[in-house]
């Protein structure tokens, strides 16, 4: 045992889940929770059938339908035949292999990375995987969570373990106080712009510092969620009082004696004081403005008061030119005042109740710009129900927003929620890749507050200039 050696939080959790280590082989890591959805699981179930294997630990496997579901009329049969077949295939597979499914219409249905934490399925110190690159979201609770491919989904179904090469460790520390109008989404867009879309590749990130500590649990999820956008395998935040208060009393959280026992473990979950990370970055919260991306990867981002640079970090002149051409932009301009066509508020990055509250507080009593279409898509049935209970649905409807039903929606545009070719969409999602929100669609990634500002103005705006004194706390 190497118990005397100083360890990072990541190494503590990794080592506590190590089943087998063999020279020249990747580590065999035990997986506590496996989330599956309709798009990346069918071929894995086929593999199990071919091998004649069951799901090894069905109680540790949680299924939902999110990527490919309509966000209108979810009570009706899915119209699109291929989507219907894929969602029905998940239902059939879950039945055959004895798995719990929070399918369409189920009160617990929602985006997989929203429902895990909100139901208390995702807990500190766990290992979690899902056939989806945004699985790092769950790292906000102080756990190792990462996205995997379908062959690996099959591995985990068959054995509740996965072969993985241990990544290197990176610390990203943000100290200070966030300026007014700057949200956790801006922190992560800022980090990615600073280290590029490939700056985290090969690493597992721990986010620390006073600016991170001050964030709510849901705001932390937004940060960990986008770890993959700098190439990192995942990102996590050491659990603290905010974490414990968030998870306490949720449906699947341990209760009573089990809670006390779990707390004994959870309270050991921090990086030892003198531990060395393979790489470290330090940033100041005061340096961060509301952020916006201008290009076709998430590293191509600027503060709203900045101009597009000549070349993004770790990019080439050719790639820059191709990106700006796709976006219909010319170099080194400011984006303020740029007319937009769509606003999308949703995705596993920003579709939780706090995101919806921030948007509602800003738009209450305001109207969306006449020529802009605004889609607001809650992350789960529970978020939707909570929003209605708080009357946020009326705020959105009165502002002219189209409040839809839970799903991944226009983040990846697998369903009908597509932005038409050439149109500009200001989006709270996580990727601005070519065609991500629909063939030829042009995406600007922003925070929920910046998205709300764009919806009201009909153009890209600095939300700080639109904040009323009452909103100074945001």
């Amino acid at each position: 045992m190497e118990s005397s050696k100083a360890k990072t939080l990541f190494e503590k959790i990794w080592d506590a889940h190590l089943v087998h280590r063999q020279e020249g082989h990747p580590d065999l890591l035990y997986i506590d929770r496996h989330f599956i959805h309709e798009v990346t699981s069918p071929q894995a179930f086929d593999g199990l059938r071919r091998r004649g294997l069951p799901v090894y630990r069905p109680a540790q496997t949680i299924a939902t339908a999110d990527h490919n579901v309509p966000t209108k009329n979810q009570h009706l049969p899915i119209q699109e035949p291929l989507s219907k077949f894929q969602v029905d295939t998940l239902t059939r597979n879950c039945k055959e292999f004895g798995l719990d499914l929070y399918g369409l219409g189920h009160e617990k249905q929602g985006i997989v990375h929203v429902i895990g934490p909100e139901l208390g399925i995702s807990l500190p110190g766990m290992t979690m995987v899902c056939g989806d690159s945004h699985t790092a979201t769950h790292g906000a609770l102080g756990s190792i969570a990462f996205g995997i491919g379908t062959s690996e989904v099959e591995q985990v179904m068959a054995t509740q373990a996965i072969l993985q090469t241990k990544p290197k460790t990176m610390k990203i520390q943000i100290d200070g106080t966030l300026p007014r109008g700057v949200l956790s989404k801006d922190i992560i867009l800022y980090i990615i712009a600073q280290i590029s879309a490939s700056g985290g590749t090969g690493y597992f990130v721990e986010y620390t510092g006073s600016a991170i500590r001050a964030l709510s649990m849901e705001a932390r999820m937004t940060i960990c969620n986008m770890s993959i956008e700098m190439g990192a395998r995942g990102g996590l935040i050491a659990p603290d009082q905010i974490t414990f208060e968030y998870i306490k009393g949720r449906q699947f959280t341990p209760k009573g004696e089990a809670w006390e026992k779990a707390m004994t473990y959870w309270e050991t979950l921090y990086s030892d004081q003198d531990v060395k990370f393979d790489k470290e970055y330090h940033f100041k919260a005061e340096d961060i403005q509301p952020m916006i991306t201008y290009g076709t990867n998430p590293g191509m981002g600027i503060g709203i008061q900045e101009n597009i640079p000549e070349v993004a970090l770790n990019s080439s002149a050719e790639e820059m030119a191709k990106s700006l051409n796709y976006m219909g932009l010319t170099g080194q301009q400011s984006l303020i005042g740029k007319k937009i066509d769509y606003v999308f508020i949703g995705s596993c990055t920003n579709s939780r109740i706090e995101d919806l509250r921030i948007v509602a507080d800003f738009v209450r009593g305001k109207q969306k710009a006449a020529d802009v279409e605004v889609w607001i898509v809650p992350g789960s049935k529970k978020v939707e129900a909570q929003a209605i209970a708080e009357g946020l649905d009326k705020v959105f409807t009165n502002a002219g927003f189209d409040l839809r039903q839970p799903g991944c929606s226009a983040c990846l545009a697998m369903n009908e929620d597509k932005v038409p070719a050439g149109k500009y969409c200001v989006s709270t999602s996580n990727r601005n890749f070519e065609g991500r929100q629909g063939q030829g669609a042009r995406t600007f990634l922003v925070s929920p507050l910046m998205a709300a500002a764009a919806a009201v103005k009909g153009e890209i705006s600095d939300v700080r200039e639109m904040l009323e004194p009452a909103l100074a706390a945001i």
């Binding site: 690159s133 062959s151 068959a158 090469t165 879309a197 070719a421």
Partner: protein
């Protein structure tokens, strides 16, 4: 799969994400087959007319082969294994780049595709070499872990883990290996300190 001797197909772009390799709208299939026809779909076909984009490298007819050579950070973004399936189904056996996204690298190896990492200089040499001679032949020797271009007298060592190398050469599968460790998984579950 041991030795691949082939001409190469250059795609000199950085940060090629998996949404470009296979757009999300083609992920509705529930099988692993048939993704090759939509590989690089929106670069390969005009978005409006659906016609082939004549100067895209897969359409131009100048470059062919089993080896795709791409700019750094290839395969970033989504974890969709469909990207590896599309590359495999199209017929590529090796992808060469100076940098691969982590999840794509795993997915490639799990589908008998070798993600071969080279230095920025070698990558540049490959792009320049194939521009001058579209029939430039490259030899990838997996057992000896070498990449050679005899025409320019280059022979480079490349890294691959011992386990994954054996899987590629013998067409072994991770699940067979993990199943051989079932007993250890059971012991782990019974004796783990933290739950």
């Amino acid at each position: 799969m041991e030795i691949i001797k082939s001409t190469i197909v250059p795609l000199p772009l950085e940060n090629v994400d998996t949404d470009q390799i296979i757009p999300a709208r083609f992920l509705k299939s529930t099988s692993r087959e048939g993704f090759g026809e939509n590989l690089f779909r929106d670069w390969r076909y005009d978005k409006i007319t659906g016609e082939k984009v004549a100067d895209f490298v897969l359409n131009a007819g100048i470059y062919t082969g089993d080896i795709l050579v791409a700019g750094k950070n290839f395969g970033c973004g989504s974890s969709r294994e469909h990207a590896a399936w599309a590359i495999n189904d199209y017929g590529f056996k090796v992808v060469i780049s100076s940098f691969f996204a982590d999840i794509f690298k795993n997915n490639a190896l799990n589908n008998q595709i070798l993600p071969l990492k080279v230095s920025d200089e070698i990558l540049d040499t490959l792009f320049k070499g194939v521009e001058q001679n579209p029939n430039l032949e490259v030899t990838v020797d997996i057992p000896n872990q070498t990449l050679s271009i005899s025409e320019i007298g280059i022979k480079e060592h490349f890294e691959i883990g011992m386990y994954k190398k054996r899987c590629l050469i013998n067409n072994y599968d991770d699940i067979d290996y993990i199943l051989s460790l079932t007993k250890e998984i059971e012991i782990f579950e019974e004796t783990r300190v933290v739950r």
